[in-house]
């Protein structure tokens, strides 16, 4: 990483001839350094994650989870949620496949919470901008959230809020073709390009705004509105985060700059988690298999849990 720092320094201070120590110089240096670091990590980690994921298709997760009950099942589902590829267009067949395999509803929800929450783009952004410790805390918290969220939904006995036709569907058996290494690497590379193509602009805008905050926004401003003195900051942060889905790439750099200016870490984590954990497009798609009331309960439980996590980390971090 020090080589990237050197590159950014020479680019801004030598090549562009901007004085070190000026606000403009600081902001530009911050921008180029973060942008290079994040793109490097995005390529390496997304490719790596995509290769690992090629070994865990959802059909395999279904088999692994098939004979588990509560607790152990919730934990395994939360962990599998990390490595199973998730796309909102697969949410319906995945949900039906799990229910059809006889999985308790709570275990299915542990998977549905963990899968989008612990996602590779958020992980890269956290690792690159906050360091591996925060990225690890985020992952562990995401798994914990999925575990307890699923258990609570299981205890509420909400099976009647699943659309009736779901219980009638019978799943067939198929011989899934095991891909060769060449294919795995090929798909992983395509996936990396696809994700980069979708997020690069948000990453640049986010880092740009972050750099601007870094150079120009005074610390007192952040402390006044979102600092430890404001008891409602976590709740407001989560409520703002819920509709921001799919922009984890763009929001995390801004959050990082705000943390530098005094935003408490718990508030920041709660905000980032609410962006990915509860996504409007996913909820709209899930409406095909579960009733609106269950979507509301699910969203409510996750939102409240994230708010608790936020306050908890504000106290201990």
């Amino acid at each position: 990483m020090s080589m990237l720092k050197y590159l950014a320094d020479s680019l801004v201070y030598t090549l562009m001839g901007i004085q070190p120590g000026t606000m403009l110089g600081e902001a530009l240096d911050f921008f180029f350094y973060d942008a290079m670091k994040v793109f490097l990590l995005l390529v390496v980690i997304i490719f790596g994650v995509a290769v690992i994921r090629s070994f865990f298709p959802p059909e395999k997760s279904r088999k692994l989870l098939g004979n588990r009950r509560e607790y152990a099942g919730n934990f395994l589902a939360a962990c599998l949620g990390i490595v199973t590829p998730f796309c909102s267009c697969s949410a319906v067949p995945m949900f039906i496949g799990f229910v059809e395999a006889g999985l308790p509803l709570g275990v299915t929800f542990s998977f549905l919470i963990s899968s989008p929450t612990v996602n590779e783009v958020a992980l890269v952004m956290l690792w690159g901008l906050f360091g591996w410790k925060i990225a690890f805390i985020y992952t562990a918290t995401g798994v914990t959230l999925a575990f307890f969220g699923g258990i609570i939904i299981g205890k509420l006995k909400l099976e009647h809020l699943v659309e009736d036709y779901v219980y009638q569907i019978k799943m067939g058996e198929s011989e899934t073709v095991v891909p060769a290494w060449r294919e795995r690497l090929g798909y992983a590379w395509d996936y990396t390009k696809d994700i980069l193509g979708r997020v690069w602009l948000f990453v640049l805008i986010g880092i740009g705004l972050g750099a601007w905050i870094h150079g120009y926004v005074p610390m007192e401003f952040v402390l006044k509105y979102a600092g430890p003195g404001n008891p409602f900051a976590v709740i407001v942060a989560v409520l703002i985060g819920i509709p921001l889905y799919s922009n984890a790439a763009g929001t995390i750099p801004i959050v990082q700059a705000l943390v530098e200016k005094g935003l408490p870490m718990g508030t920041a984590l709660a905000f980032m988690m609410s962006i990915v954990a509860i996504s409007t497009p996913e909820m709209i798609i899930l409406r095909k298999v579960i009733k609106l009331k269950l979507i509301a309960i699910f969203t409510g439980i996750v939102a409240v849990a994230i708010i608790i996590i936020g306050y908890l980390f504000n106290v201990i971090l």
């Binding site: 267009c89 697969s90 067949p93 059809e100 569907i169 799943m171 198929s174 011989e175 073709v177 395509d190």
Partner: protein, 76 residues
């Protein structure tokens, strides 16, 4: 020969459908390409991730969009 593209109408499903049509055109063979959007039928193939590609009843790919050349290989 028959190619089925399984998916409930997401953008990747359409992309895969286009790839399949393209591959058939390039191969010059008589192959029927159809979209399967009925969830019961999709699940009937044992598939949990869409889009999926089924050739003559065999699931060739699930949860990804194979390239045109790859599909061409499969229908050769």
């Amino acid at each position: 020969m028959k190619i089925e593209v399984l998916g409930i109408g997401c953008s990747n499903c359409n992309k895969l459908y286009q790839h399949a049509l393209e591959a058939v055109k390039l191969s010059g063979k008589e192959v029927e390409v159809i979209k399967v959007e009925d969830i019961q039928k999709i699940m009937g193939y044992g598939v949990m991730s869409t889009p999926a590609l089924v050739i003559d009843g065999v699931v060739k790919a699930a949860g990804k969009v194979p390239k045109v050349e790859q599909i061409k290989e499969w229908i050769k």
